[in-house]
Amino acid sequence: MPRKNSDIVLAHPGSFRDPAGFIYSRGETIYRQINKSGSKDYDLFMSSGLYDELVAKKLLIPHREVQLALSLHPKTAHKVIQPSTIPFISYPYEWSFSQLKDAALLTLEVQKLALASGMTLKDASAFNIQFIGKQPVFIDTLSFAAYEAGSPWQGYKQFCEHFLAPLAIATTSTPNILPSLKTMIDGIPLELATKLLPAKTRLQWGLTTHLFLHNSAQKRHKDTETERLKPRVVSMFALKGLISSLERTILKSHMPKIKTEWGKYYTNTNYSTAAFKAKKQLVEKFIGKAKPKMVWDMGGNTGEFSQIPAGKGIYTVCFDIDPLAVEQNYLNKDKSTVNKLLPLVQDLTNPSPNLGWAHHERQSLKRRGPADLCLALALVHHLAIGNNLPLEMIAEYFSTICKHLIIEFIPKEDSKVKILLKSRPDIFPEFTRSGFEKAMRQYFSVVSSEQIKGSKRTLYLLKAKNGKS
């Protein structure tokens, strides 16, 4: 008898740190098992009113309790919960500056409310936050523990390394530093952060205390066993002061002023308003044909074309390499798309890999797919000419990450391609419309193709041949 998809049970490979419970999936559904060791805290969390308050304020992902029979390890299980689905999992190294800043502020807000309810956050990982569209939400239901009077905040160091240090370094240098968190998935160590920050940041109270002084204390007590330490009482007054000070310091961080190639892309387009409108209408028409539930807009800049599917209620992830474009997209909180459009920083020539323990903790971009539909508008010439990628390799990659593809071909006569060829010899004889179609047909079948009115550009709707659709 063939196995049903719902029979496939998998423990989440990134959910192993906290003995209070773990995440796993049955088929497409995600569950969280609360272990007996975490029962006291979980029950307090639910009965104290904190869960209801956080959900009502849309700060926490809601869940429902399901039958214990669905647990993965029944012997250790106290409860099983089914959290609401997050349409697309993203990681801190894919967020723009303000996304990381908002995630930090959300963590502090949650901690303040927890303290007011007699609980505390036992960690402060940036991976505890996800985005539903442009709304950050706390996802770790097991991060809450009973607050014991006088106890310090266990998550303080983690907060400084996951949030404060990257934001401070980005503020004083460039937001381009944030994707490098891929190599430091447990945040930027305090010692490294203090070496990277310019001396003038020592004059800022928040940074000098939470990073520099904090680092000195860590170094001084490197070999001191916590158990041997004289009992340290951190009063509620001090704890509130600490959270408030962190909040003020985070609020002072700001996206540095930078100029990028893409930040003003749509004010520098080389085709007429009529052609731009025609392109939008054609994209809309092709989306209607593909009927996707999930769209990835690859190289989507500030999200101009992502607005089309998102406006129709289709969840859309808009990827771009440019931190300023992604920042602008995130800050545009258009009400009609705010819950449906997720902007992320992604370099398509070096997409997010599998990371962490055994290459499984954090998933590559490809493993989070395939998307029902990818948009690749004004992108191919950048990959083929800007990055020397053969057209067949572009077609092959797209066929592994999406079921349908709306792709635009821009010929060499177009001024945008001319700019790319200005400073280098033309070694791309295959870069023609027929060469492009030949490459695409190896991995896709053509559903529709139309020339964009008022331009020399062609738009294609393709369907992947690999049988995933």
């Binding site: 740190r17 906290d18 003995p19 209070a20 060791s37 975490g38 805290d41 036992k122 960690d123 523990a145 009973a146 014991e148 106890s151 310090p152 905040w153 266990q154 998550g155 303080y156 160091k157 983690q158 205390t209 939470h210 002084l213 904090h214 000195s216 204390a217 860590q218 170094k219 001084r220 007590h221 490197k222 001191t224 066993e225 916590t226 330490l229 340290r232 009482v233 951190v234 009063s235 007054f237 001090a238 704890l239 509130k240 002061g241 600490l242 408030s244 000070s245």
Partner: protein
């Protein structure tokens, strides 16, 4: 601290320093709030006297 509560290594130095930073920041917060209240009170006194003049 209960065993499961402290699954994360908080760092000994981190525990030592947060009491100090927290108290200092708490005093500063209290100070700011008090000054804010005094300023509001002061302003309201003046706005009342202005209203009387009119």
């Amino acid at each position: 601290l209960s065993h499961y509560f402290a699954y994360l290594d908080p760092g000994t130095g981190s525990i030592v320093i947060q009491a100090l930073i927290g108290v200092t920041a708490g005093v500063a917060l209290f100070g700011r709030k008090t000054i804010g209240l005094l300023v509001t009170k002061f302003r309201s006194l003046f706005s009342k006297s202005d209203a009387k003049k009119k």
